[in-house]
Symmetry: C2
Subunit: 270 residues, 2 copies
C-alpha cells in the first residue's frame, strides 16, 4: 500500500498567543485522514517570513507529498505566507495575471453591491495576486485572497486562507478532488468505551491484540474515574486499499480486544 504523506503548516501569531484554537489543522487532518491520506506532522509558526520559510523547507526535506499551508494570504502587512514560500523555494514573487483577475473581479463585485466605494487595485489588493513563480491561483469562492498551488509532481504545495470558511470552501471545491484522484486508500476507525480496568492493566491486552492484528493501530485514552471506576476509550484504526478490508481489520481486532477485556473483569459500555 502506497501512502501519500501530508504535512500541515498553520501560520498565525493568533495560534501561538492563545487567541485562536487551531480548528483549521484539526479539520484538515480529519478530512485528509478520511480521504486515505497519512498526516505525519503539523507545524504552527508565527507571521514571520523566516519562520514560515524554514518550516516549509524542513517539511520538503522530510519528503512530504502534500504540504497544506493555511493562513497568511490576506492583504495586510502581516500576511506573509507567500513571501515565506517564495523564500523557501528560492523563487521570485510576481504578480500572477490570473490571480489578479480573480482579485479584481471580487472587488468589482463588492463595489457593484455597494460594499466598498472603490474597486481600485490598491497595493494591498495587488499583494494577494503576487505568487511565487510557477504557482497557480485557486479560486476562493467566498473571500478575496485566492488559494495557491505549486505542483512539482512528486510534491504538491497548497496555500489556503486562514479564515475557516474560506479555507474549507477552497479545500472542498479544488483540493479534495485532486486528492481523491491520486489516493486509493481507505481509512476506518471505531472506538469502544470500557470501565473497571485501568490503563496499565489494559496495556498488555492491547499489545496482545496488536500482535494478533499487526495491521491495525490501537490507542487508549483514559477518561477519568466514575465512582472509583476507571473509564477508558479505545480507538482502533486501519488503512487499506479496500474499504471492507480496513473495516474487517478494525472489527476483528476489536472483537478480540473486547473478549480479553471482559475476561480480565473489565466491562464494555454499550
Amino acid at each position: 500500500m502506497k501512502l501519500d504523506v501530508f504535512e500541515i503548516i498553520s501560520v498565525g501569531n493568533e495560534l501561538l498567543n492563545g487567541k485562536t484554537l487551531n480548528t483549521n489543522a484539526h479539520w484538515l487532518a480529519k478530512t485528509i485522514t478520511k480521504l486515505g491520506g497519512f498526516v505525519r506532522r503539523c507545524t504552527v509558526v508565527r507571521d514571520d517570513v523566516d519562520d514560515i520559510s524554514s518550516a516549509i523547507k524542513e517539511s520538503i526535506k522530510r519528503k512530504v507529498n502534500w504540504l497544506i499551508i493555511s493562513g497568511g494570504l490576506g492583504p495586510t502587512y502581516d500576511d506573509k505566507t507567500l513571501q515565506g514560500l517564495a523564500k523557501a523555494l528560492n523563487r521570485e514573487l510576481i504578480v500572477n495575471a490570473d490571480a489578479l483577475k480573480m482579485v479584481e473581479k471580487k472587488y468589482e463585485m463588492m463595489a457593484h453591491h455597494g460594499m466598498i466605494k472603490k474597486a481600485d487595485l490598491t497595493p494591498e489588493r495587488i499583494k494577494m495576486a503576487k505568487l511565487p513563480k510557477g504557482s497557480k491561483p485557486i479560486i476562493n469562492p467566498i473571500g478575496t485572497a485566492p488559494g495557491v498551488m505549486i505542483d512539482d509532481g512528486y510534491k504538491k504545495i497548497v496555500c489556503l486562507p486562514g479564515v475557516p470558511v474560506e479555507m474549507r470552501a477552497i479545500f472542498k471545491e479544488s483540493i479534495l478532488p485532486m486528492i481523491t484522484k491520486v489516493i486509493n486508500n481507505f481509512y476506518h476507525e471505531k472506538s469502544i468505551h470500557t470501565t473497571g480496568i485501568v490503563e496499565s492493566e489494559l496495556a498488555p491486552l492491547i499489545e496482545k491484540a496488536l500482535s494478533n492484528n499487526p495491521l491495525v493501530y490501537i490507542k487508549s485514552y483514559p477518561k477519568g474515574y466514575e465512582e472509583g471506576n476507571a473509564k477508558i476509550e479505545i480507538q482502533v484504526t486501519a488503512m487499506a486499499e479496500q474499504y471492507f478490508t480496513a473495516k474487517k481489520r478494525v472489527e476483528d481486532a476489536l472483537e478480540q480486544l473486547k473478549s480479553m477485556i471482559m475476561a480480565h473483569g473489565g466491562m464494555i459500555e454499550k
Copy 2:
C-alpha cells in the same frame, strides 16, 4: 527586554488523524503568553520515536529556552515520548527511584480504594518511571504518570501527560511557579470590532498605526459580512517589562486606529 522563547511539542496520532482537537497546545500557548513568555512554534508529531526525537532536536537547535512537550507518558506501548526524548538527547532511559515511588504510591492508593485488584509494579507501570538520565520527575496530582523535567540552565525541557486535566494540573502546580520566577514581562491584548470597512482598506491604516506605535502588534481577522457590511476584529497586543507600559501601548495604538477607521467611514462596535 529579554524574551524567554517557548516551543510546544504535542505528541499523539489522535491529533493528526482528526480524532482530537489540540486544546492542550492552545491552553499552553494562552497560559504561557499571559505569563509573559514568547511562544514561537508548536509542532504536532505522531507516536513515533524518530518523529518525536527529531522534533525535539530541531527545537533545541533553534535555541529554545523552554520546550514543553505533552502526551505520550502513559503505560501503553505507544506512549513513546520519553524514548524519543532520550534518543534526542542521547541519554539512557533508566528507572528513576523518585518516579518509581510516585507511581507505586498511586497504585497502592488505587488498590486501597478497591479501584484495582493488585498494586504490583508490572512492566507497564515501571515504564512510566523510566526517565532519560538526569531528569527529575514531577508529581502528577491527578493521574499515574509523573511529569518529567530536564533543566540545563539555559534550556528547560518539560514533559506533561496528554490527558488535559493532568497536563493542566502539573503545569499549574509545578511549572507555572518556575516560569513566573524567571520571567518579568507582561503581555496585554485588546480587541475591537469594526464594520463598514474591508480588510484591504484597513491594511494601510494598520500600517500607519504601527509605524506610529512600533512596539505593538496589530492583527486583523475578517469575520464575514452582515447585510453587505464587512465585519472585522482587530487585536492589538504588546509585551513590556511593566504591566502599565504594555497596557498604555495597546491603548494608545487602539485610539489612533479607531480615529483613522472612523475618518475612513468605518464604525467601531461598542
